[in-house]
């Protein structure tokens, strides 16, 4: 009872009207929307950012009210579909139900400005991890005006004077609105290649960058050894904008003191033999698992699938049962594939099982205008198998693990 009284007292001090008539409290721009957008929208939606509309001021947001109502209700924005139970992976995670409701209420309430200070938004410019050890400029890269996804590949030679240990990298694209995902790999003969089926000409994956996600970064005592003459192979994914764009970018490399104590490695969980039926029920679930052979941290996850995948996740199972979801991409879209790097890598003991579960949808009744009868009359799709072609499928979850010692 005493605790209840204290809580009431605090609520009354914070908002007198709210205490007596909580439903009359309408969200305002300054009170609710600006802080929410600062947290979930503006790192992309600012001048020179990857997002199309500035959402920095009341006027910016009010002007786009009709569109915001649609894309936040449908959860199309923020577009980062991936979440983890074990830490932050995206710059901005998806809106919660409560946040989406606040936006709807604000728009339907006439978009009042309200009173109070608007949180200051630090413009995103330069390198977010500070001064790099080396910057590699990759130019020219031309992105055509059309096409849903443009994939390009480039090889850069590092002019290192001695062996270095790479612990982080970052990317600054010249045209942030078209650059989507970059995968960086080390090209050195004789090592296992997790990317051979997708055609990347590299031998050891380093990490990935994607717009809207955390950069790839190892803990302070870890690194990847780079030798003089090593080459980096970079696979770039662009979304064309409707006009020809400059796909050039700067790659920042961060070298630490050598030698680093720990070195990460990639394990690949998946299958290279499977069939996805085109018959009812049109869904196929594929599952594969692997065990950690040592106490380890999970640094990064990189799923590989193509067009008919619909859901991708990585589960963690401990000795006493499920521990949670390391990565859940509830709506797999090849063109929105991210880079799933933990801001703070979680740790798991040896013997922990990582289980990849992908779902694929092999049906030809995607057209919402078709009736049930029309769908039933459609020819069945041919089965899809593992393979290197665009029309084949993949089921791979690459996981970067860093042993404890």
């Amino acid at each position: 009872m005493k605790a209840g009284l204290i809580a009431l007292g605090l609520a009354a001090a914070g908002s007198l009207t709210g205490l007596f008539a909580p439903t009359d409290e309408k969200p305002t721009y300054r009170g609710d929307i600006a802080p929410l957008f600062a947290k979930k929208c503006v790192s992309c939606h600012q001048s020179g950012g990857p997002g199309p509309f500035k959402l920095l001021t009341y006027e910016d947001v009010r002007k786009r009210g009709d569109l915001l109502e649609i894309v936040t209700l449908q959860r199309k924005m923020p577009p980062t579909d991936a979440v983890s139970d074990f830490g932050t992976i995206a710059d901005h995670e998806k809106l919660t139900d409560g946040e989406a409701m606040v936006i709807q209420d604000w728009i339907r309430g006439g978009m009042p400005d309200g009173s109070g200070a608007v949180p200051e938004v630090r413009p995103q410019s330069g390198w977010r991890m500070g001064q790099p050890s080396q910057v590699v400029s990759v130019t020219p890269v031309s992105v055509p005006a059309e096409g849903n996804e443009i994939v390009k590949e480039t090889v850069v030679t590092l002019n290192l004077d001695r062996e270095r240990e790479l612990y982080a990298f970052d990317i600054l694209p010249k045209s942030p609105k078209v650059a989507r995902q970059f995968v960086v790999a080390l090209q050195r003969p004789g090592e296992y290649s997790p990317f051979k089926a997708t055609g990347i000409r590299a031998n050891q994956l380093i990490g990935a960058w994607a717009v809207g996600y955390r950069p790839w970064k190892l803990p302070d005592d870890a690194g990847i050894v780079l030798k003089p003459g090593d080459q980096l192979c970079i696979r770039m994914l662009y979304h064309p904008s409707g006009k020809r764009d400059d796909g050039s970018f700067d790659l920042a490399l961060y070298f630490g003191d050598s030698p680093r104590q720990r070195h990460p490695r990639w394990m690949t969980i998946g299958l290279d033999q499977f069939e996805i039926s085109g018959q009812e029920p049109y869904y196929t679930d594929l599952e594969a698992a692997a065990k950690l052979d040592a106490d380890a941290q999970i640094i990064s996850m990189l799923p590989e699938a193509r067009s008919i995948a619909s859901h991708a996740q990585l589960q963690v199972v401990g000795e006493n049962g499920p521990l949670g979801t390391l990565l859940n991409i509830s709506r797999w879209e090849k063109r929105w594939v991210g880079a799933y790097n933990f801001e703070t890598p979680p740790s798991f003991p040896a013997g922990t099982t990582l289980r990849a579960e992908f779902q694929y949808r092999n049906s030809n009744h995607d057209d919402p205008s078709l009736t049930v009868d029309q769908v039933k009359r459609l020819p069945k799709n041919a089965p899809v198998h593992f393979g290197p072609a665009d029309t084949d499928e993949l089921f791979w979850m690459h996981v970067q693990v860093l042993p404890k010692s």
């Binding site: 509309f53 009010r62 786009r64 569109l67």
Partner: protein, 170 residues
Amino acid sequence: MILAAALALSIKAADLTGKAVTIPTPQKVTCLLFVGTECPIANRAGPEFNRIVSDFKGVSFYFVYVDGSSKADAVKHWNDFEYKAPGILDSSFSVAKFAKATVTPETAVFDKGGKLVYRGRINDAYTEHNLPRDKPSKNELRDALTAVLAGKPVAQPHVAAIGCSIPFPR
């Protein structure tokens, strides 16, 4: 004569070079392509817009900027996207209201008599935000232009467009 004048609804505007235009163009099939300087869905439609302008000779096309952008931004965008028809800056949203457009990229087709015979999407490249098709399977704007040039009725006079809501003043 009075009746004819009353039916011949039209609106005056100026193109980006300052030239006065009447919409719809008298005695011609007219097609308005509503665009914005920032709308990614409208921007991605640019190349197909230009192909349609090239493919349908004899149609009077206008790119109508309806996102409240400045004239300088509109001119730069029109040049960057190499639009193959004149641009109009619709700062007052009067052209959008005249054609009942609500999003970019939406299109409006008027027959030679100035009657609005089609309003809606170009094609089904987008049926929801963020997820374009690899290749559109329905091309309603091309179908509408083909029909109206042949003097036939447009099969589907309205197909909702997916894109960026036009920021009408509230």
